[in-house]
């Protein structure tokens, strides 16, 4: 049905033309879900945009042909292309929050779209809209149709977006990361819906995703892309079952496994970030410096003991005269972190994971409870002086490496800051030297010291953030979703780095993540949070083998199982 042949898309810029997609060919048959998988910058979305004719200017199709049935998509006039969009090709976007107009009811948005393409009466369009909503699994559609987008949950909203894409009965739907913004539970429902639509309505889908798990679950065929080129293409069973290309294998090896713990991710040399391991001598210098102070922490008791900790935020005001009710972010949390181990904190968004990190670091004041750091009371946020020793000993690595480094400072300045602030190294030249050595230790070139953060990729920046934390000579490291903003192969590298550092320096780590598979690879102990309460706590491996609390069981079973992957990766 859809034939794309030798497609090349270029973006002319001042430093010459950038080729986003090069010589890509693919075919989509009716009723087939064709997965496009790859990491950021692979050109997945650009292919989708080229097919539907919505390339961001100044991008243009430099070569190749696009045919939908017997229509040549490149030969269409702007007006014909406009009519074709929606009528024969539709699109589903990543974020259901922004792809619906918040000021219009679902009804008017659906009817508007139907009437734009067909000349039928409003009443007929309305009946069609209700049927559609019923079809995609919205119960009681006749009344729910009058609701506004914000009155639907995220998953329901994505269903409405799908209904919107369906309402002109298109032949082809391009779904660009349709489940990335959704929780695991909702994700599986939406994927089932896509599969069902392909089977029943014989719609062809191009499913763009970075997640091999999603592909393994619903796609018939898959094309693996990297840097705008096709690495491998074929049926899903064949590509994921017997991957022929080294990149496909690397991509699959980098996916964290939920079913077993692997010591280290085995990463072939084809992943996208360059890791510089050549500066062994410099790295050794940083390592010696870190180890030279470790005698001060010969603690035997728990590094951190939290008892009955509660955090309340001021909620939304309900009346002008009454005090706004408190929003309870953490409710009577107690946990202990053993020295030299990794404690995992998991939970869905809004469960209070990050609040926990913020209380420990003193950014948020607890309402009640006590925190003991190495046997000493850890003063609450406002009371903790700037010179308090825990300020140095507890360091944090943030989720988003794009905002955690000050973009206006050079890497050298950023890294020297902890040395200066904590008075660890009074001499500026030696601070600089040490910063460069630390870069070598985390796998970057020491020359990076004179560059700015924007000159690095996300993974490299996260390494810099880790280096900054290490330069404080911490005993306790808090990692708040350190890899959720990164591509899988980069995630695997960063997780490897953290594992190495933890093993070499005996760091104690609090590892916060929503991704159970990642957590399993990293932690010794685990705490499951739900709505600010601990629902289950214990050693990690027994937990993954046999979770006890119903919520933990739910969480584990809903994480997408990579059935096909299991056969693909030998243990």
């Amino acid at each position: 049905m859809l034939r794309v042949e030798n497609l090349t898309v270029q973006f002319p810029g001042r430093h010459g033309s950038f080729t986003a997609v090069e010589d890509v060919s693919l075919r989509v048959a009716p009723g087939e879900i064709h997965g496009l998988v790859g990491e950021s910058g692979a050109g997945k979305s650009t292919i989708g945009a080229a097919v539907i004719g919505l390339l961001q200017p100044p991008g243009f199709i430099a070569a190749g042909s696009l045919h939908l049935g017997d229509t040549d998509l490149r030969a269409l006039s702007a007006q014909e292309a406009h009519r074709l969009r929606g009528k024969r090709i539709s699109m589903i976007f990543q974020d259901p929050q922004t792809s619906l107009n918040p000021l219009m009811t679902i009804e008017s948005q659906l009817i508007e779209t139907i009437l734009a393409h067909e000349e039928i009466s409003t009443a007929a369009a309305r009946t069609r809209a209700i049927d559609l909503l019923e079809e995609i699994g919205i119960r009681d559609a006749a009344t729910r149709i009058r609701a506004y987008p914000h009155q639907f949950s995220g998953g329901m909203r994505q269903r409405v977006v799908i209904a919107l894409a369906l309402c002109t009965s298109p032949e082809l739907i391009i779904a660009d990361e349709p489940t990335t913004a959704l929780d695991v539970v909702v994700q599986s429902q939406v994927l089932d819906l896509l599969r069902d639509l392909a089977d029943r309505r014989r719609i062809g889908f191009i499913l763009i995703t970075h997640d091999i798990g999603v592909i393994a679950r619903v796609a018939d065929k898959v094309t693996v892309l990297r840097g705008g080129r096709v690495m491998e293409t074929g049926t899903t069973a064949q590509v994921l079952g017997q991957p022929r290309h080294a990149y496909t294998r690397a991509l699959m090896a980098a996916v964290p496994r939920l079913d077993r713990k692997i010591d280290r991710f085995a990463l072939p040399e084809v992943v996208s970030d360059v890791v510089d391991k050549t500066n062994v001598a410099r790295a050794q210098q940083a390592e010696d410096w870190l180890l030279s102070a470790s005698d001060s922490t010969a603690a035997t008791g728990p590094v951190l003991a939290i008892s009955d900790l509660s955090v309340r935020f001021i909620g939304t005001r309900t009346s002008l005269w009454r005090k706004p009710p408190a929003f309870i972010a953490l409710d009577n949390i107690s946990l202990t972190v053993r020295p030299g181990t990794v404690m995992g904190v998991v939970g869905e968004s809004g469960s209070g994971k990050s609040t926990l990190a913020r209380v420990i670091t003193g950014l948020v004041n607890p309402a009640a409870g006590e925190m003991l750091y190495q046997g000493q009371t850890l003063p609450r946020g406002r009371v903790r002086t700037r010179a308090h020793p825990a300020r140095r000993a507890i360091q944090m690595v943030f989720q988003d490496p794009f905002s955690s480094l000050n973009g206006r400072h050079r890497i050298g300045t950023i890294l020297a800051e902890p040395l200066l602030i904590y008075g660890l190294e009074p001499d500026a030249a030696r601070r600089r030297n040490l910063a460069a050595a630390m870069l070598a230790l985390v796998g970057l070139s020491p020359d990076a010291i004179d560059r700015y953060p924007h000159q690095f990729s996300g993974g490299q920046r996260q390494r810099i953030a880790v280096a900054r934390a290490l330069l404080a000579r911490p005993d306790f490291l808090i990692c708040d979703e350190p890899t959720s903003a990164l591509d899988v192969s980069i995630q695997a590298q960063i997780l490897n780095l953290l594992k190495d550092l933890q093993a070499r320096f005996g760091l104690t780590i609090l590892f916060i993540s929503h991704n159970l598979a990642v957590v399993r690879q990293m932690v010794d102990d685990i705490v499951v949070l739900k709505d600010g309460r601990i629902v289950e706590a214990g050693r990690s491996e027994p937990f993954f083998a046999a979770p006890r609390h119903p919520y933990s069981i739910d969480l584990l079973s809903l994480t997408p199982s990579l059935g096909l992957l299991d056969q693909a990766i030998p243990a």
Partner: protein, 299 residues
């Protein structure tokens, strides 16, 4: 230098004729104004350097005197010299008022955004009150107070300073509001949180971390407000609150020219006016260009 010329900003600049023309006009005007004592033929403040005999001479192309390229005013002052000296004074007041407003507004705005709570409320309410008062009223008020508390001779000497202060006080609100809004955004970014966790001094965080990251929008306001400051000075001088006619700024020149609006001696009014318009439009265009340059969405 080569790096600067090859930067993205310069690339966009070289592709924008409006920005290049504006920059050229601004550089020529500001340069000429700054060098006025060396390039002007006479000193319009020096009563001995002109004579009433030369009064009302039209510009050269209308058959005037070759000594006075753009003619003379009623006192026989050379228009070229008057305009250059006037622009010099206008720019001096505009620039210092803008600088004062920047320092005052940005420090209050960043502090309000960073500290938040009651302090923020207080600063912003003062800003709201300031916004409710027209700039001219503020200037009148300050001029009045200065007149009241200072002896006459001191007041005359300090006229430039009083005018600068009045203009700065009516412009700081823009800076404070923008700085505060940007600080709110930056404050919650992880790099600031990291600095707080590290136990850095709040002043260090505000100056070393937040300030460099909010400079972009402030730079735009600085150019646009420089234009407003110059206009405001001209307005105040035109109304007679600003500078006296013996040390004319552009506004004063326009006020003098007003008397001859309908008398046929058009150059006395129109030449300083056109000069002022060219200067303000050029600075505004540069400000717009800067805004586009710093806004990645518009690129």
């Amino acid at each position: 230098m080569r790096q600067f010329w090859g930067s993205d900003g310069m690339w966009l600049f070289r592709r924008s004729p409006a920005a290049m023309l504006a920059a050229l006009v601004a550089v020529v005007i500001i340069g000429a104004a700054a060098l006025a004592p060396w390039i002007a033929r006479t000193d319009p403040y020096d009563l001995a350097s002109f004579s009433l005999m030369d009064g009302f001479l039209p510009p050269v192309w209308q058959g005037g005197d070759a000594r006075f390229l753009l003619g003379t005013d009623d006192q026989g002052r050379d228009m070229v010299s008057s305009i250059l000296y006037g622009a010099r004074l206008s720019l001096l007041i505009g620039l210092s008022a803008m600088a004062l407003a920047t320092v005052l507004g940005v420090s209050l705005g960043v502090a309000a955004g960073y500290i938040g709570g009651r302090f923020d409320g207080m600063v912003m309410r003062i800003a709201d009150i300031q916004l409710a008062l027209p700039a001219i009223l503020t200037a009148l008020l300050i001029d009045g107070i200065a007149r009241g508390i200072l002896p006459r001779e001191v007041h005359d000497d300090l006229r430039v300073a009083v005018l600068t202060l009045a203009i700065a006080l009516s412009l700081w609100v823009n800076f404070a509001r923008t700085a505060r809004a940007s600080t709110f955004v930056e404050r919650n970014k992880d790099y600031v949180q990291a600095a707080i966790i590290m136990g850095q001094h709040p002043l260090r965080i505000m100056i070393r971390h937040i300030l460099p990251n909010i400079l972009g929008p402030l730079l735009v306001i600085m150019t646009v407000d420089l234009a407003s400051a110059i206009l405001l000075e001209a307005t105040l001088s035109f109304l007679g609150i600003g500078l006296p006619s013996d040390s004319p700024s552009l506004g004063t020149l326009i006020r003098i020219g007003m008397q001859f609006l309908l008398s046929g001696e058009w150059w006395i009014l129109w030449l300083p006016t056109l000069f002022l318009v060219a200067l303000v439009v050029a600075i505004n265009l540069l400000g717009d260009f800067l805004r586009d340059l710093l806004n990645p969405r518009l690129r």
